[in-house]
């Protein structure tokens, strides 16, 4: 692995759109070439080197490229956009669209992330040590094809719209979530280890949700069908099993409707 470090030395006046901070773009480039990559600030085009001190050359391929952003990226959008391999570590917070449209590789953020983290993700791994704002692992506006694969793990809390229109992959929120989990989902798994306020699984067609804490307001479209023991993220526990959303359409397999599952850990 070849390590490229980006050390922020200047805060942008507005926000930077850094579609280029990705092993796919860095691969095969020297630190000088990387510093010359375009980033956008509003309608102006500037250079990555105008804001970051770049050290180290990238590997030949994305797989061999490791990027470390040693500093705060609270005003940096699109880190890891569309990346397919390699890794990125951010030593602070990151702004919107972290790992958006990501297909492979690994991103680790030590701080918090803003909204739309892992939007339309297809593969790879995102790990956030802090909190996430809203729309973790969501679809782009209007698209019925949301997150299709990969794993997003938020060690802290997350806001609303987790896994909206999700089709596959796994999202784990280790603390609490606000509202709207797996809305419109047609696959995938969301695990909330803390509490959720409500609207869990609304308009959900297919897929699984695990809540290890409490659901404050259950939707009327979810029906209790029994108790079950399940293994979740390395631990086994007893859950109350609900199916739903009974208000939504469902696919039929051999004449029987297949519902989405909501497992709430038994007290």
């Amino acid at each position: 692995m070849a390590l490229v470090t980006l050390k922020p030395y200047k805060t942008p006046e507005l926000y930077l759109e850094c579609y280029n901070i990705s092993p796919d773009v860095f691969a095969g480039k020297t630190s000088a070439e990387i510093a010359e990559l375009d980033v956008r600030e509003g309608k102006t085009t500037v250079k990555l080197g105008d804001f970051f001190e770049v050290k180290g050359n990238a590997g030949k391929t994305p797989e061999e490229t490791e990027i470390r952003v040693s500093g705060d990226c609270s005003r940096i959008k699109y880190i890891g956009n569309k990346m397919t391999a390699g890794s990125i570590t951010v030593d602070g917070n990151a702004d919107m669209y972290l790992g958006g449209w990501m297909k492979g590789g690994k991103i680790h953020v030590l701080g918090n992330v803003h909204s739309f983290c892992g939007i339309a993700m297809e593969g790879g791994e995102i790990l956030v040590d802090g909190n996430a704002e809203n729309y973790v692992g969501c679809a782009y506006r209007g698209d019925w094809r949301g997150m299709r694969g990969g794993t997003i793990r938020i060690r802290g809390n997350a806001g609303n719209d987790i896994g909206t229109f999700m089709l596959g992959g796994t999202i784990i929120v280790e603390k609490n979530a606000f509202i709207h989990v797996s809305t419109h989902a047609e696959g995938g798994t969301v695990i909330i280890k803390g509490d959720v306020q409500g609207r869990v699984g609304g308009q959900m067609v297919k897929g699984d949700i695990y809540v290890l804490g409490a659901v404050q307001h259950m939707l009327p479209g979810f029906k209790k069908v029994g108790m079950t023991e399940r293994e979740v993220d390395g631990m086994t526990a007893k859950f109350t099993h609900y199916i739903g959303d009974l208000g939504e359409r469902h696919l039929k397999v051999k004449g029987k409707e297949v519902y989405a599952n909501l497992y709430v850990m038994a007290a």
Binding site: L14, G42, K43, Y140, R141, Q203
Partner: protein, 457 residues
Amino acid sequence: MPKWITQVGCPYCGSSCDDIEVLVSDDGKKILETRNACVIGNEIFHHVSSPDRPKKPRMRQPDGNFKEITYDEAVDYTAKTLLKSKKPLIYGFGSTNCEGMSAVARVAEKAGAVLDNCASICHGPSFLAIFDNGYPSCTLGEVKNRADVVLFWGCNPMHAHPRHTSRYSIFPRGFFTTKGQMQRTIICIDPRETDTAKLANIHLMIKQGHDYDLFDAFRTVLRGHDIPAEVAGIKKDQILEAVEKIKKGRFVMIFFGMGCCHTDGRNHNVDIAISLTRDINSHTKASIMAMRGHYNIAGPGQVWSWQFGFPYCLDLSKGTHAHMNPGETSSVDLAMRDEVDCFMNVGTDAGAHFPIDAIKHLKKRPFITVDPNICMASEISDLHIPVRVVGVEEPGIVYRMDNVPIQFKKVVDGPEGVPSDEELFDRIYERMCELTETEPIWLPSREHAKAPTAAEQ
């Protein structure tokens, strides 16, 4: 002799009534009387003749006071400010015509601006829901002529759209609804007993903020499943009764408003309402409609959709393509995150209608208001540029809440020397081209074709 002008459009709410009659003075300059308008519409027509209206741009001086300047100076300042900004935000358009919205789009494209309209703080979530789930809707005439079950969900037309219920939704006798109100079942869902709820056959006094749960209950019942004894503060029996009425309807109409868009879940409250509408269409005919607030607030959604593909929150700063993602490119989020470096408030009053914190953020940078009247935004602006009042002094196309285009007349002359929005923005655009030494892009067939005056019609 003063003259009555008929079939005049009213530039107030999304009902966009076009049956107003206006008595205009001999010299064609003053409005003496109106007929058919609601109290609010009436106020607008009369306010136009107010002597306090500003007739010249006003620029804030270092001492904090305004000084009148010429339109040329105002145009020059605006053009330079937009060009200098890395990411200006141009917001508003609650009260302009489509001609103005088209002209401002050219300015925004040139300025690399974010272009947003009042939907952003109003029915924006409805757009998000439409993106996700579509919009099975109809024109208001269909409601008048056919609807026999009408739901008002989180909306209060008796206050926000005063003539809606008499022209379209509750009282009118239509082609297949010859008995008017007698033939309609009105269902109102609102946490308060509003004046609209008082007109309803069924009022479900929902627990505020739990609309999504109640919609889910409606859907669940409609699919033949059981629901808990109480949902969102509403007893199961009442829910079953309402669903039964809906199923028995021949044409079910759902109107929804800010009770869905301004509360927790925002877009998903509308989203699931659309799902419900889809479901009802498996039983009978059903449509849904957003109670849009202003007479032409559907306009920018139309104009910018055909010009750029998005109805609001358009980020045109990327040069090559337009980008939209409310939550990121929406005015209040941009303001709170300090993501823009110039704010232009056009035909609306962000000063009064944004949360005050957002205004504090925007005020850190140049702040320009284009509006016929003195308003909160104008009074905190660095520059206020007055324009003519659309629908009264300026004709133009407006889109009613059902997206029907209506050609609004002009009834009186505007104050001398005061331009229309379109004229002003074209001048700003031309100045921007001069300053950047670039050729303006005019579409030859389009530009400056003037709508007819009332007399010509």
